[in-house]
Symmetry: C2
Subunit: 704 residues, 2 copies
């Protein structure tokens, strides 16, 4: 196969101009490769089909990676003009299957494929220009504006792989052969698997900020673990090896599945791996765009639940305990065979980066040699390898502000790390220190290998929110009160409800961790909570779905106190069905958020990048006699809102002081009547001894 | 003259390694040039003499520029080990003649010159190594660790000039000729001055952060002004031209002097410029190290008060109003003659950077041509030119955290800008955008030229504190109370006093804006207030010296409220004589701060870079039965204190939670008895609606 895919660029270098050139080439290579992935779809009609009920139609993904650039550039104030506000709201979010993704596509009028293709061209031109003109010094650091460009490129690299998985999940009649993604043509019987010994080791994971490659936030920090020596399978588990489990009715053997696995079986009624097709009692195999005879020596594609089930099956068979490898054990294997990281990595040595095949290949094709001379296969490439380790933050983890929901929502002990990359991986995905994790029932180009180790299975950690800012808000909304000031979520919801004429549907905009959304549901038929940050709405969603929130309150220095609040304690059991939580941008809300009797915007307007975008059209989302409640301490700051967009807190050209309330009255006067104002205090705990004590102003506006 | 002095380096470039080399060479050139300046002193004994009663002895300045590197590197946590803690406390501060400089040198045992010379070598080696090893990317930005090195170099460049002034002020028998600073040998009669017309212009001052040269914080930001056309003198005012004023008894003509000027005359009894010497009725002239016949065509060296007096004298003579140029008018002249900035600047074209002379030279030697073809002399170089503009912050000004008292204390409407640089200027001083300002009675290598303009004289602005953080503290200590919480400075002083056995001398360590220092003086015979930041102690000193504090309280966004509190309102008139304010580092206090009956450390320990350095020896500064009061909310954070130096707020190796109070008890147990603890709230206003509400812990310790 020709070389389709370039490696990620190095962050350091000597010449600014040649670095711009490298970034430009890497960007174009990525953008074009992504479009080639969509050439697998048979025709434009297929763009409106979904490969799975829980995912968006293909047109969403086609627009999404371009929109991502624009939304991040806007949010980081690198550009100030949108290219297409409508596209940039409907293509904005929706990748991992989280409850707050808005998957009800019927609510949108999806645009034409040609319109999206034209939009992609505009984005390509803009990003290309930015690459040549943004301020740039070397090495490129997280604070650099160019980092946002690299983020957009690496984000698209991820979607290259996940889109290929979605395409592979579509009916065959929706896809067509592509010259760029030709499957491997070799297969024979499966080799018999063996176990190799890996020495004990002190493993250190995580990179520091001086690392020479772009990294997602979850890669930075420090993690140390001593691992005992262990045995590992020489090959990835092949279709042939897995066949014994299927033939032994493994999918029906309850002993092989844990609770999450049994739930998966119940929902899907699965009896074999998803890319196997049973025809006339014989298993055939689905590649990206064709159906072929079962390649017994290729790795089996499974989710983590199926991989774990196989391990339990094999443990029962052999009377020895098999497990998936841990993150640290995998690194020990990686270190044993001394793989060089990008840029010294040799893509010829493994099935990845589209160098060899547009599919998996035999598990005994790409060999690596350990220090003691053993041969092990597919340490990287072919298919990802599920691990038994849930992704967790390394010590020193810091959220990258431009993409604060990349990692944090996955630190929930439910997202398992996948290791080693696949034939469809490229960019950051094939680098040594990248860390990707998915829910265990999720399909990727992923299989597994097994280990025998004395080291323990991973125990689920207590799921306390490790995100300091989110925890602070959890304490604010669900924790104790201080200095005699009432819980703010409760008081705002009570005040807002008292002014509402009708109590059908309410919107809690800037809902943060969701307490006021529940409180409003005591009075309203349904309440939608929206926040810009998935990190925040995840808390409300968890209270609704799992019945509790748990968080760590900072007390002194690094010392914290763990707290857990259940839906029963809160008395919200009966309200869960009435609330829903969504990620959204108040300055560019999706069109379907409308028809409200109450919109409550709490501590929001002084945090928006352009509050006028919110205020100028919010009336259209309210029903007749609808009520708008705005609560804010008017803490304008340039880090949130460029000065030109402030509503108050400055002196105008005539030298008159402009206060926020004056501007609100001017802007809202045509459409609203101001019916009530009051001060309302709130207290946010930072540590056991330090608090923010704020007096917000509540203004209540009735739609004319 | 050989080329003694290199230009400042450019911040950008292509090769990291050659940039390191450039910085190294510039550093060595500066460090060595500074040592050559001290070769002007006749022998080692002279190092212990002062050139003026208000300044330190020379040995201080000799050590100071080296110590500056170490103190800044320590404070910015770039290095963690001091070279010589004693030197680094006694050589730490004292340049501008501020009341909080500690000038009572008798209190120190100054080290030997050879010891300081050896110390300078150690610093040179360390800084040289850092230049080759610190992380470096181009362009070098304010956040870069290398910026601190550049700051140290440019700081030394300033002292090259100011030390040469001090040497020139010493008796002739204390100095000797230097090959490096040979005076000009040309002089004749003074040319007759003329006026040239400069066109009206829209002037824009200030640079942005992408500027290619190192800048002090006061250079960044934006300032725009339209200036009308004006007339300006062709030459700097020469000794010959100024002679008419002296001969007309101008120094005794009250009409020529304003209030500040008359006070200057009263104190100094001056009758002629300070570098003139009257012998047998004839004026002679003092160069750096010799006395010569009056060079009538060289510029007169005067302070701003003398320059203003001359303008008033000439206005009376001619019936036209002469003034000093404003900062913007000076830039108009600079732009008219199209001078290139460093690195394209041509040092041959003016008397500066030690290229031509170690003294002034005739005012008609270095000519510049305006756009309309007029010839004007000494637009830059020869002597600095006093302006009528007090130095002010440009819009967008931000303090550089590593040197927060470089500019802010001079934004007091009393420091006048000097423009254009002198024969002894180099480094940043000769760049286009640098801004230096001195009190009007201060001598530098400065003279003046005059203008006739319709534009107004500068009116003194109301002196409200423009430093946001300092203003916040002023409001905290001198402003209103909120949420019913008592003024914290008053309550801590009351509690501390109530436990003191003897009431001789007290120390208010971390005194901030000084309110508690005054409060303690109600009970104690004398109280010393010390803070790390000159920006803060300046407020207490102003209350003592000028009888008021004035500050701007942030209300909403950029809107502020001005407040002024007088010593009469506070009832502190009788206390002024008992308090004094000093800049000091609690982790490396000067030896003379001792003999206290009370040491109060308020909200200090969790802000120190190494609190153990403070705690381990503080008992030595207390008298028998002395009391130590520590007040803190224990808000440990890595930006102030590296984690390894925290006293609490972490888990130790055995997994036990360590709280600050436990550590305080352990550390202080041998020398102190804990006699009281209590919680004490305080509230700091951030805006009209946002407050910090904190509960500090007060612990009272009695010396055993």
């Amino acid at each position: 196969m020709s070389k389709l895919s370039k490696y990620s660029i190095l962050l350091d270098g000597k010449s600014i101009e040649s670095k711009r050139q490298e970034i430009q080439e890497y960007f174009h290579n990525t953008f074009e490769l992504y479009e080639r992935v969509f050439e697998v779809l048979r025709d434009n009609d297929v763009f409106y089909e979904k490969s799975e009920i829980t995912r968006h139609p293909m047109i969403f993904y086609f627009g999404h990676t371009a929109t991502f650039f624009i939304n991040k550039l806007i949010n980081m104030k690198i550009i100030s003009e949108r290219i297409n506000p409508n596209f940039e709201s409907i293509f904005a979010v929706g990748v991992d299957e989280m409850s707050w993704d808005d998957m009800d596509s019927a609510r949108y009028n999806w645009p034409k494929v040609e319109e999206v293709r034209e939009y992609r061209k505009q984005v390509k031109t803009l990003v290309g220009e930015l690459i040549m003109t943004l301020p740039l010094s070397l090495p490129i650091s997280e604070e650099s504006e160019m980092w946002i460009i690299l983020m957009g490129i690496e984000h698209e690299r991820i979607h290259i792989e996940t889109s290929l998985v979605l395409h592979r999940q579509m009916p065959l009649e929706f896809v067509k052969d592509s010259l760029y993604f030709q499957p491997c043509s070799q297969s024979s019987s499966a080799p018999k698997n063996e176990l190799l010994e890996i020495n004990s080791a002190d493993i250190e994971l995580g990179v520091d900020k001086s690392h020479k490659l772009y990294g997602w936030d979850n890669e930075y920090g420090v993690y140390k673990e001593h691992i005992n020596s262990f045995k590992v399978s020489k090959y990835l588990v092949s279709n042939g090896e897995f066949m014994a489990f299927v033939n032994a009715d493994g999918y029906k053997n309850e002993e092989c599945w844990d609770e999450e696995g049994r739930k998966f079986l119940e929902i899907t009624q699965a009896e074999h791996p998803t890319f196997w097709i049973k025809k006339d009692g014989v298993y055939r195999y689905r590649t990206l765009s064709s159906e072929i005879d079962m390649p017994l020596d290729w790795p089996v594609d499974v989710n983590a639940l199926e991989a774990e089930a196989y391990c339990r099956y094999k443990s029962l068979q052999d009377g020895v305990k098999y497990q998936l490898p841990s993150e640290a054990e995998y690194r020990a294997i990686y270190d044993e065979v001394k793989i060089e990281d990008i840029p010294d990595f040799d893509e010829r040595s493994a099935n990845l980066n589209f160098y060899h095949y547009g599919s998996s290949c035999p598990v005994n094709e790409f060999s690596f040699v350990t220090q003691k001379g053993d041969t092990i296969y597919d340490v990287v490439g072919n298919v990802w390898q599920w691990s038994r380790t849930p992704i967790r933050a390394f010590e020193g983890f810091e959220v990258h502000e431009a993409y604060d929901d990349f990692s944090v929502p996955t630190f929930d002990e439910k997202h398992a790390l996948i290791l080693g990359s696949s034939w469809a991986s490229s960019g950051n995905l094939i680098t040594k220190n990248s860390r990707y994790a998915f829910r265990k029932h999720f399909y990727q180009n992923a299989g597994f290998r097994y280990v025998i180790t004395e080291d323990k299975e991973e125990n689920l950690a207590d799921i306390y929110e490790s995100d300091a800012l989110v925890s602070q808000y959890c304490e604010f909304q669900y924790g104790e009160t201080h200095f005699g000031v009432e819980n703010f979520a409760i008081s705002t919801a009570r005040i807002a409800s008292s002014f509402a004429t009708n109590k059908g549907k309410a919107l809690d905009l800037g809902c943060a961790t969701g307490r006021a959304t529940f409180e409003l549901a005591k009075e309203f038929d349904s309440v939608e909570g929206i926040d810009f940050s998935v990190r925040f709405v995840g808390v409300g969603a968890k209270l609704k779905d799992e019945g509790y929130v748990a968080f760590s309150v900072k007390e002194e220095g690094l010392l914290t106190q763990n707290k857990k609040v259940t839906i029963e304690e809160l008395g919200y059991e009966s309200l869960s069905a009435k609330v829903s939580f969504w990620q959204g941008d108040a300055c560019n809300l999706k069109p379907n958020f409308k028809g409200y009797d109450l919109i409550m915007a709490t501590n929001l307007i002084d945090r928006l990048y352009n509050p006028r975008l919110f205020l100028d059209t919010i009336d259209e989302r309210l029903n007749e006699h609808g009520i708008l409640v705005i609560t804010s301490p008017y803490t304008w700051q340039e880090s949130s809102t460029a000065k030109e967009f402030w509503l108050g807190g400055f002196t105008d050209e005539e030298g008159t002081e402009v206060h926020t309330l004056d501007t609100l009255q001017k802007v809202l006067a045509d459409k609203f009547e101001l019916i009530h104002t009051q001060d309302l205090e709130f207290v946010i705990k930072e540590t056991a001894r330090k608090y923010q004590h704020t007096i917000s102003e509540v203004t209540v506006w009735k739609k004319k």
